[in-house]
Symmetry: C2
DNA sequence: TTCCTAGTTTACCGATCGGTATAGGAGAAC
DNA sequence: GTTCTCCTATACCGATCGGTAAACTAGGAA
């Protein structure tokens, strides 16, 4: 089992599902887009669902690594980093390929809370919340748990609205909202 | 063309699409769920897309009417009403049938900004923004446009997170975040 | 050389997709 | 009673769905 080919498939499938949606992207179309034959895909993954779960695992790792790296490059203090989250988001929104959050879309298409895909989406948000909570604690917040929930709320709202409206204005408003919330919480 | 039968179809289709998703809910399954024959459905709507657009029009009207009615019942002052938005949301989240926002899901499945379904979702958010802006203006906000954007941001974030995590905690945090933002904006 | 592995192409499976055609039934209007 | 409207049920269309079977090829190891 060539691990590199498998990873290549997951990476290309990630892009394809991100652009096309999970139900709308069929396995035949996926084979054509990735350049990997259907037979090979089913050698690596028993079902489409398994492939999607692998895609989500990759995306979770990819996104959180990117966000943390970016935030740490943009600001030094914990407080500055909580705000830098929204500068990083602004950069993401400015990419022409931006199409909302893969996990929000996954939970939209697989709504049952018991479904593994829905759970994977929830887990991603939980991990993000953990990072924000760490920053909030370092920043000396009175209630770091509550502050991190509010930061996450604004982040998710920004992602949704950036997909539907003026992306630049959304990033700015989100940062402004975060400033107000930080001012009240520290 | 019996208008009442048509409306009945749209109402039942709304529930079916809300539970099942747009791509996942096929026209045969829809006929079974609504009790309306496929032939009759295609007498009223030329395509599935047309039916979905009618569903979204109904949902927009339904949701905004409900929200405005609820907000006006919960508080008298414009400031209080901006906060009551999140009490109303909390009531919505508590319903067992709650499954996120139909328009967020629509824009997740139809991502192209030029697609009529995506546009309908964007329009719904624009109308909500208008309502919040009116309240912000009445409340005497320095920048009502900016304040309304921030309120909408928190509302959308709350809807997403309520779909993925602890709904009660989300509603509370959203209200708290809105309080901070109102305090800074008025 | 021989064998195994990892991948390919092509074709196929039953089911479902969105959409249509046909025939007929129930009820109101004339 | 007849016609028109609105609906039904059933069957069908070609295309695509997720998934599988079979035969083949290229490369590396024994």
């Amino acid at each position: 089992m060539s691990a590199s080919k498998r990873d290549e498939l997951v990476q290309k499938a990630l892009k394809a599902f991100y652009r096309g949606g999970f139900h709308a992207m069929g396995m035949d179309a996926l084979a054509k887009e990735t350049g990997v034959s259907k037979t090979a895909m089913y050698k690596h993954f028993r079902t489409k669902e398994d492939l999607i779960l692998a895609v989500l695992r990759l995306r979770d790792e990819q996104f959180r690594n990117w966000l943390i790296r970016r935030v740490e490059a943009l600001a030094e203090s914990p407080r500055g980093r909580l705000l830098a989250v929204f500068d990083a988001l602004g950069e993401w929104f400015a990419e022409p390929e931006y199409r909302s959050c893969m996990f929000i879309k996954a939970s939209s298409e697989y709504q049952d809370r018991a479904h593994p895909i829905h759970s994977a989406a929830a887990e991603h948000k939980r991990l993000l919340l953990g990072y924000f909570e760490k920053l909030a604690r370092e920043a000396g917040a009175k209630e770091p748990e509550e502050l991190s929930r509010r930061i996450l709320l604004i982040k998710e709202g920004a992602i949704v609205m950036a997909h539907l409206g003026d992306r630049e204005a959304v990033a700015k408003s989100a940062r402004g909202a975060a400033e107000d919330i930080l001012a009240a919480a520290l």
